[in-house]
């Protein structure tokens, strides 16, 4: 990898670290808008941005198949970070430049070419000014854009587009179920205090078609996607080393999301939780006590030496779910050079097991953060 690119990626990841661990270095930020209770989320308005909060992301993952049976996983995320609290704007020069903004947008996209065992990734960033990146709201919906990447969130369909030198995505997504508001009407606790929380909703089942281009070859694909939209100012509390996050879509038309906040001293933080979506689209909160996850296999990244779990046995007795989750590809690490430090694993997984005693299969995405020592790299 050439130095230039390495530095570039480093910047992107440092920025991602800002997102992934926002508030981590200073506790709870003072001047940003905060999430302290029910989010009163209203759609479609809340598809748009919440610029006074520190971080926000629009997050799409999916598993799709080409007519020839070739399988792909994809990830497409646009992060928004506010670099300084809103009060800061009062001290800006007058007149100020059009380039003057606190909003930073970062995009991550990856394609997991399961059959060929390739994981292609790219990251971009720009400031939220002068049409370089931002969120535009119109009658027809909300457009979250970053340079040429964009997610158009319409009333009944989404379109996501991303391109890089080695791959591109152009997918149409159609929600099959109503949005699911996690936690208490979207108020998703991420720590012990009320502020350590985010506003969080998902579209758990999006019928997907479109084109994935891998190194110059376009594939027409079909499958299912998952969309998350989350914003917060201080979601994590000190002592949490990272999280394991699962989004699974099962063949019985149900979906499962849960996240485990891993504590330094081991075990899951009590704020870890999940949501089960039944075929009708009704969400059921799952408390941490109600689930167990057992790691069945690990993979060590040759690049970063980090050891990631890549297979799990999940057991949620209250929902009669016994699932085996395994990575479709071991190396789905989103990484940078060894010097930079911030790496995470974001990958396509397959599911087998039983639901209510009946066999189910499924697919999904898992996000694993904090496994590399680098997560503690200075920011």
């Amino acid at each position: 990898m050439n130095k230039q690119v390495a530095i570039w990626i480093r910047v992107v990841f440092v920025a991602s670290a800002l997102v992934l661990r926002a508030g981590g270095f200073s506790g709870i930020a003072e001047d940003y808008a905060r999430v302290t209770g029910p989010c009163q989320l209203r759609l479609p308005e809340d598809h748009g941005d919440h610029p006074r909060h520190r971080t926000e992301w629009w997050y799409y993952t999916g598993n799709v198949t080409a007519p020839d049976g070739r399988r792909f996983g994809y990830q497409f995320t646009i992060f928004r970070i506010r670099l300084a609290p809103p009060e800061k704007e009062a001290s800006w020069p007058d007149p100020s430049s059009e380039w003057r903004t606190s909003q930073l947008f970062i995009g991550h996209a990856a394609v997991s070419d399961v059959n060929r065992k390739r994981h292609l990734q790219d990251q971009i960033m720009a400031r939220g000014a002068l049409g370089l990146a931002g969120v535009a709201t119109a009658e027809t919906g909300v457009t979250v854009f970053l340079k040429r990447w964009q997610a158009v969130i319409g009333h009944d369909r989404h379109r996501i587009r991303a391109d890089s030198d080695i791959f591109s995505l152009d997918l149409n997504l159609e929600p099959v179920k109503a949005p699911v508001f996690h936690g208490e009407a979207g108020y998703s606790r991420k720590g012990s205090s009320p502020e350590q929380a985010s506003c969080y909703y998902s579209l758990t089942r999006l019928r997907t078609d479109g084109v994935i281009n891998v190194q110059g070859t376009p594939y027409t694909v079909e499958g299912l996607s998952w969309m998350d939209h989350e914003y917060s100012t201080a979601p994590l509390e000190p002592g949490i080393t990272g999280w394991d996050w699962f989004s699974l879509q099962l063949s019985d038309n149900t979906e499962l999301m849960f996240f485990i906040l891993r504590r330094e001293q081991g075990g899951a933080h009590p704020a870890s939780s999940g949501t089960f979506v039944d075929p009708s689209g009704t969400a059921h909160h799952i408390a941490v006590e109600a689930m167990s996850a057992e790691i069945k296999d690990t993979w060590q990244s040759p690049g970063t030496q980090a050891v990631y779990p890549v297979a799990w046995n999940l057991d949620i007795p209250t929902k009669q779910l016994r699932l085996r989750v395994s990575a479709n590809l071991e190396d789905q690490e989103m990484r940078t050079s060894q010097t930079s430090g911030v790496d995470y694993w974001e990958g396509s997984v397959s599911v087998t097991g039983t639901a209510g005693g009946r066999p189910v299969v499924g697919a999904g995405y898992v996000e694993l953060t904090g496994y590399g020592k680098a997560f503690d790299a200075p920011m």
Partner: protein
């Protein structure tokens, strides 16, 4: 003696290394600034709208776009040394340029975010920070023509990429801060592009078609090339000058080998008689030449390393003053330069050794027996060479008239080479003639020694001729350069008084270095207009443009007002006939440099684009101009303002009314009024000061040249000294005979002095003659071909005259070691049995 060659080689190498270092520093700086840029968008004569960036980023042919703003600004009172401040978007720029905080910087990974988040923050290059003792967290005051403002330093740049631009004398800031500081809202100087991998050949044209009017897609190397082209002419001229010292060193090798051969004549005869082949003798001396060359070259390394330290400073300062800013932070020892200097030194030594080696080969083995070495038979050879010399000299002018490629004075240098060759070939014949004709008159002046010296000279052969040739070369150069520099200086002085007329010059702060991109701030312009001063205001615009590879300045002028106070120096065309069309805006006046570099002639159409406007204008006249950063095109102010609706001033000259009673006092009052209203945002220079500065820069520029000249002269004097030694050694027997028949030591000494005198006079005389021809070539051919300008021919008789005793004194001084030689062996040797 090897020192002489070493000196020549050292000068040659260090001059080349110095220029090379400057070129390298410039090119590296330009490359670092360009980074991974494939294409740059610029708007000649203006700035680009910033909204173009997002549009470009949406274009699939574009992989990346980074807006750039640049200005030279000064830091806290250090007005003498502005540094380059780059404003960019740290995020968009990441894939273009390499820059990061120095290891250990407190902000390390957050620096870019800090720049973006905090208004009026900047990161500094390590050298700049060190020079001003700035550490992260410190606040510095930056000054620009719009304002002075405090900046907080948030980091030091690592010594790579942008951190090394201009040798680390650099600052970077967020584009928002840059715009807020300089007031250039909504605009960027340049947008650098990286083209998409798949973007094909036609993508340039496609992209260009989509661009707004006046926006040009340029290659990043174009600017570097234009800069390099300007330096290159200087490089070539300085290289050739430095080569002269090496070339004169060649005469030295020649003399040394000849001296050696003369010393060992009998030994050679014995060698020859004992079976050494002529070829072996030839090789023996050739090898000696090679060893001298190698020895000289080796010695030149320490000598050169001393010289280069001074040279590099001078050369880089000259290039910075005249052409483009360079900051030489290291000496790049390119293998090519080392090999070149070695090869040239060796080649020259071998070439110089060839003739004496050949002569040694011809030494007859009979000399072992014979007592009296034969005299060289040079009479007929001298005539033949003389005829060739005349032909060569006759060819000089026709050759010089051939037009060469611009910026490469090939015909000029060929003509110069022919001139030197011609005069060198003529020198044996001249010496012969002089010896014969002058011997008797000399007897009347200097007695018997003078007569004998004349006689010796006429028969002393090729060796003397070659030494005299060296002196001709050196003194011709001296004379020619004295004439050229004098003419140049005179013309520049005249130009400074006529064309750079004006009592006060007012420009935005650091206008020239920032290429007049920012006009005089509007409030200050109004304040100047409202000044109650007895002075004419002559506002002008200056726009930096490029005509193919040639940089030029498009300058507006109100010709009628201008002519009241000064005027152009016309090379072609006349003020009276050109004025009406000029004032109507139908044509332009172009500088001689611009005309020569572009080939534009009177009556041709000059085409350019300024912003959205395409201009097609007739060339109405060609005028002298001695700005070094390309040519100048003058256009009438009023039509320009009408065309562009641009009432702003790039700068303004003020001329005091002639009727003012006490001009000095009025000037002082005017300047202090201007200073008071300028608020530190204007540069106010008195005309007198500016003109003096022009001449000071001129003098500094030629300081290097003068040093080279003196070295060449010194080497030539060494050549004369060694030739005299050879002559003395050869004539030792005869001198001893003279002593035996009654000559006093004083007479012998006088004889040698007379010999030196005659050689020097011949060399100096022919040299001065040759020098006048050369000065013509330099002024009207080589300067025109290299830089595009010529000068009014003026001879500084004082300096030329001064050079005569100077050179003669040096040469006579150089005769001292030779006279010593005579008496080292007692005359009794005449009688000693062999």
């Amino acid at each position: 003696m090897v020192l002489g060659i070493a000196l020549g080689a050292a000068v040659f190498t260090s001059v080349r290394l110095s220029i090379h270092a400057s070129l390298d520093a410039f090119s590296r700086s330009m490359d670092l600034i360009a980074g991974h840029t494939d294409r740059s968008l610029i708007k000649p004569g203006g700035r680009l709208p910033e909204t173009l960036v997002a549009e470009l980023l949406r274009n699939p042919a574009v992989a990346g776009a980074s807006p750039v703003l640049m200005a030279y600004v000064h830091m806290g009172g250090q007005r003498a040394n502005p540094f380059l401040l780059i404003g960019f978007d740290p995020l968009l720029d990441r894939s273009f340029r390499n820059w990061r905080p120095a290891p250990g910087s407190p902000n390390d990974n957050k620096m870019w975010a800090e720049l973006m988040r905090e208004p009026f923050t900047l990161a500094l290059g390590a050298q700049l920070a060190a020079k001003h003792r700035v550490t992260p967290g410190d606040t510095v005051i930056l000054g620009h023509s719009r304002q002075q403002a405090p900046f907080r330093c948030v980091g030091i740049l690592d010594a790579e990429g942008i951190g090394m631009v201009e040798g680390g004398r650099i600052g970077v800031t967020d584009i928002a801060t840059f715009q807020e500081f300089t007031g250039n809202f909504g605009q960027v100087d340049r947008i650098d592009l990286r083209m998409a991998v798949g973007a094909g050949d036609g993508s340039d044209e496609t992209l260009q078609a989509e661009l707004p009017e006046g926006v040009v897609l340029a290659r990043p190397e174009e600017e570097r090339e234009s800069g390099m082209q300007m330096i290159r002419a200087y490089q070539l001229n300085l290289s050739i000058l430095s080569f002269v010292s090496l070339f004169v060193g060649m005469f030295l090798v020649y003399s040394l080998i000849a001296l050696n051969a003369a010393n060992r004549r009998s030994e050679l005869a014995i060698l020859h008689a004992n079976g050494a082949s002529a070829r072996q003798l030839f090789l023996l001396f050739l090898l000696e030449g090679a060893m001298l060359g190698v020895g000289g070259w080796l010695l030149s390394v320490p000598v050169g390393s001393v010289i280069v330290r001074y040279m590099i400073q001078g050369v880089s300062e000259t290039i910075s003053t005249l052409f483009v800013r360079v900051h030489v932070d290291r000496l790049t020892l390119s293998g090519w330069e080392i090999a070149l200097s070695f090869a040239v030194t060796l080649a020259i030594s071998l070439a110089a050794a060839a003739q004496p080696a050949h002569a040694a080969m011809k030494i007859s083995p009979k000399e072992v027996m014979a007592e009296n070495p034969e005299i060289e038979r040079t009479q007929s050879a001298a005539g033949r060479l003389g005829a060739m010399g005349l032909v060569a000299v006759a060819l000089v002018f026709p050759l010089a008239a051939i037009p060469g490629p611009p910026g490469l004075p090939l015909p000029g240098y060929l003509a110069t080479f022919l001139l030197f060759t011609g005069f060198s070939l003529l020198s044996p014949w001249c010496l012969q003639l002089m010896g014969r004709r002058l011997a008797n008159p000399l007897r009347r002046i200097g007695g018997e020694p003078a007569f004998l010296a004349g006689r010796y000279l006429s028969t002393s052969g090729m060796r003397t001729a070659i030494s005299v040739g060296a002196l001709i070369t050196a003194s011709a150069l001296f004379c020619a350069l004295v004439v050229m520099i004098h003419s140049f200086r005179n013309t520049v002085e005249l130009w400074a008084h006529q064309t750079v007329s004006g009592d006060v010059f007012v420009t935005p702060k650091m206008a020239a270095i920032n290429q007049y991109r920012d006009p005089i701030p509007f409030d200050l312009m109004q304040a100047i207009q409202q000044l109650d001063a007895p002075a004419d205001l002559l506002p002008y615009h200056r726009i930096y443009l490029r005509h193919r590879d040639v940089m030029f300045q498009f300058e507006t002028v109100d010709l009628e007002s201008f002519r009241k106070h000064g005027g152009f120096l016309w090379v072609k065309g006349e003020p009276e006939s050109a004025a009406p069309a000029f004032n109507r805006g139908e044509g332009v006046l172009v500088s001689e440099v611009f005309a020569n570099l572009t080939g534009l002639e009177m009556g041709n159409t000059f085409r350019t684009r300024i912003g959205e406007q395409a201009l097609n204008l007739t060339v109405l006249g060609i005028v002298r101009d001695y700005r070094t950063r390309g040519g100048v095109v003058f256009y009438a102010l009023a039509p320009f303002n009408a065309m562009f609706g641009n009432p702003e001033w790039g700068g303004v000259r003020l001329h005091l009314d002639r009727s003012v009673r006490d001009p000095d006092r009025a000037l002082t009052a005017l300047v202090s009024d201007l200073v008071a209203l300028s608020d530190g945002r204007l540069d106010i220079t008195s005309g007198r000061h500016l003109r003096r500065a022009i001449l000071r820069i001129f003098d500094e520029t030629f300081a290097v040249t003068s040093i080279l000249l003196l070295i060449a002269l010194a080497v030539a004097a060494l050549g004369i000294a060694s030739t005299l030694s050879v002559l003395v050694l050869e004539h030792r027997r005869q001198f001893n005979t003279m002593i035996a028949v009654g000559a006093s030591r004083g007479q012998i000494r006088r004889l040698v002095f007379w010999e030196a005198m005659l050689m020097v006079t011949a060399g100096e005389g022919a040299g001065v003659l040759c020098g006048f021809v050369l000065s013509y070539l330099l002024i009207f051919v080589i300067n025109a071909q290299s830089f595009g300008w010529t000068f009014q021919y003026r001879v500084d008789w004082g300096a030329v005259g001064l050079s005569v005793p100077l050179i003669i004194g040096a040469a006579l001084f150089s005769a001292l070691p030779a006279t010593r030689l005579i008496f080292r062996i007692p005359p009794a040797v005449l009688l000693r049995e062999r």
